[in-house]
Symmetry: C2
Subunit: 110 residues, 2 copies
DNA sequence: TGGCTATTTGGCTAAAATGCCAAATAAGAA
DNA sequence: TTCTTATTTGGCATTTTAGCCAAATAGCCA
């Protein structure tokens, strides 16, 4: 909880950066439910297969997911189940922001 | 907990992206303790004042912090105290990664 | 008012991230 | 082995981010 070193800050920022993309969040969300192969995730994300593969490698390099070959496909699994729960506070941020916008728009008051 | 829409994913990714920088994490860490003025945070971050100011505006636009003028200085405060606790799982990621690296280096086994 | 002091903004350059296509790989099926 | 399918990698163009300097603001103090 004390002061982090520059290296520690960099490492933490790196993990956050890996998560900070809509497609990659979508992947994490899916993997929190069950393992998925790349082709399934391409359908979810809706981008080119090569793009999806690169997103997956970002998440893998960050230590968030791992891959495993099963038959013809490569399946990915979530290494850190807590990661989606750690978005709870992000939710709070968005709620507060929505609240503020409502107030600024004069539609309601707290 | 269900499936997020594209907009929801984008909003969540946006907040994470705002956090995903060493200097900005350092700022959040400091503000979790108490309010700080910009000049104090410049000392903490060690970059040009204008750079620090831009980092602060990223965090402000994301809804994570707010500013308030007090005398000569502008003080920032953390709007969402839970945000640093939401890094607990990031910690877990780093620990698992360090563990894996130890195993790959053959220095120990679980 | 004029001059500070603290902070923000504009402008610019360098670096990193995105996403597509095409080519390379890997591995099962025939 | 050869064909095919699933995935990764290389390359490239476009966009976004980062960080510095210099200039613009804002507000206090004399």
């Amino acid at each position: 909880m004390g002061h982090w070193t520059g290296e520690q800050l960099k490492a933490r920022a790196g993990v956050l950066k890996a998560m900070a993309h809509p497609a990659r969040l979508r992947v994490l969300e899916a993997l929190a439910e069950r393992d998925h192969c790349v082709c399934e995730m391409q359908a979810l994300v809706g981008s080119d297969m090569s793009t999806v593969s690169k997103h997956l490698s970002v998440l893998r390099n960050a230590g968030l997911i791992a891959d495993e070959k099963r038959g013809t496909n490569v399946y990915y699994r979530l290494l850190v189940p807590c990661i989606l729960k750690s978005l709870d506070c992000v939710e709070t941020v968005l709620q507060k922001q929505a609240q503020k916008h409502r107030v600024l728009a004069g539609k309601a008051g707290a």
